[in-house]
């Protein structure tokens, strides 16, 4: 008699555990790594509101200001990453991205050469339920033209000039060469800050050569 009552107590305990786990499953929902559910409407709205990407200048400011929780991710192949990559960037393949551990308080910025792979990676991470994800709009190409070699047209408006002063400061921080006056005979900006030592994190010579190659390949 006592054996059967202790048996039924065990059964009730097990049934209770199963019920708790089942209710917990409802509460936890499905944020599995493989095949999470995608709120397509929410993603489409984010894209329309242009909340899906950052510009090269915005990213440069984040890197320089050491934005807390920022993770810059290079989704190109390892060889390209080894040749040249943005300061503070880590290398993750697109398949690596679908499994990478990312904390909710981190802000992830993906970049590729042109921008397509990074945009696809953005979707993968959003599908995994990761909120703070952006991609570099024009990829490394935009970084080269907007941050490393920004150019102000000679006939720029005062507003454009003011904007360019900020960009030029960022550019110099990353070892760039801001120019004024379009394509022919670039002029160095006449600014004492231009004499500041370059502080790019990557080796300057190798970086410049790789920049040249990226530019030649285009996007």
């Amino acid at each position: 008699m006592s054996a059967s009552s202790s048996g039924s107590r065990t059964h009730r305990l097990l049934a209770g555990a199963a019920a708790v786990l089942a209710i917990g499953a409802l509460a936890a929902g499905d944020r599995t790594t493989a095949g999470g559910r995608v709120d397509v409407d929410a993603l489409a709205r984010a894209v329309e509101a242009e909340q899906d990407h950052v510009t090269a200048v915005e990213l440069a400011a984040w890197i320089r200001d050491r934005k807390p929780g920022l993770r810059v991710v290079d989704v190109r192949v390892a060889a390209d990453y080894a040749e040249f990559h943005l300061p503070t960037a880590e290398n993750l393949s697109l398949t690596g991205l679908t499994r990478a551990a990312i904390r909710p308080d981190e802000t992830v910025v993906l970049y590729s050469e042109g921008g397509t792979h990074a945009a696809q990676g953005w979707f993968f991470l959003r599908a995994r339920g990761i909120e703070h994800v952006y991609f570099l709009r024009g990829g490394l190409y935009e970084w080269m033209t907007e941050v490393v070699n920004p150019t102000l047209p000679a006939d720029a408006s005062p507003a454009q000039r003011a904007e360019f002063a900020r960009t030029a400061e960022l550019s110099r921080y990353f070892g760039g060469v801001p120019r004024i006056g379009g394509g022919s005979g670039p002029t160095r900006v006449d600014d004492p800050a231009a004499k500041l030592p370059r502080r790019a994190s990557d080796g300057d010579g190798a970086g410049a050569a790789a920049v040249q190659r990226v530019r030649q390949r285009g996007c």
Partner: protein, 198 residues
């Protein structure tokens, strides 16, 4: 460590066979301790006297479902790599019926027949022998059966896909159903035990 420990597509290597052996022995031990090595237990299910088999089956299903859900939810299991057998509607219905006739006639299923044989029951040995004979006949007759075997394919079906609900909802509904059924089975057994006696 990421489950599944053995990749079905990687083939059965030495390590895979070792894991399968350990799991199989543990499974057989549990079946024997639950009394399922006895054909009387299974026959009791079909006479409605003893619903142990029903409860065992559903406790196994609930354990596996909750295990798969939570392990993959916690990132320990890659659920997309768990093998789900594809559905072939008609051949599987016919196969199920043949299997059912054998199950009722023998009072043992493939797993419990091995347990029964291992504990020295002669009916268990006979069922294992019959099972191997059936496997041989099926393999020899396969060219004749092949077109039927591959008919009415429906792909890999799962409840979440079929019912368009999330795995969490499907898992919770399954557990609720199993718990309700187990409670009902207990009540049925008590009434059958108290009322009849025969």
């Amino acid at each position: 460590m990421i489950f599944p420990l053995i990749d079905a597509e990687a083939g059965a290597g030495g390590a895979g066979l070792g894991v399968a052996l350990v799991l199989g022995v543990a499974f057989g031990f549990a079946l024997e301790r639950a009394g399922l090595g006895s054909a009387r237990k299974l026959a009791g299910q079909f006479y409605g006297r003893d619903l142990t088999v029903l409860k065992v089956m559903f406790s196994a299903i609930v354990t596996a479902a909750l295990g798969v859900f939570w392990l993959s939810r916690l990132g320990l299991l890659d659920a997309s790599r768990v093998y789900v057998p594809p559905t072939y509607l008609l051949p599987q219905a016919v196969g199920g019926a043949v299997f059912g006739v054998g199950l009722v006639a023998a009072g043992l299923c493939p797993g419990t027949s091995c347990v029964a044989a291992a504990t020295g029951r002669r009916d268990g040995l006979a069922v294992v022998g019959g099972m191997l004979l059936g496997v041989l006949l099926f393999a020899e007759a396969f060219p004749l059966l092949a077109s039927f075997y591959d008919s009415t394919p429906r792909g890999t079906l799962t409840f979440p896909n079929l019912l368009q609900v999330s795995p969490a909802v499907a898992t919770a509904a399954l557990v609720a159903m199993a718990l309700g059924m187990s409670a009902g089975a207990e009540r049925w057994e008590r009434r059958a035990g108290a009322g009849g006696g025969s």
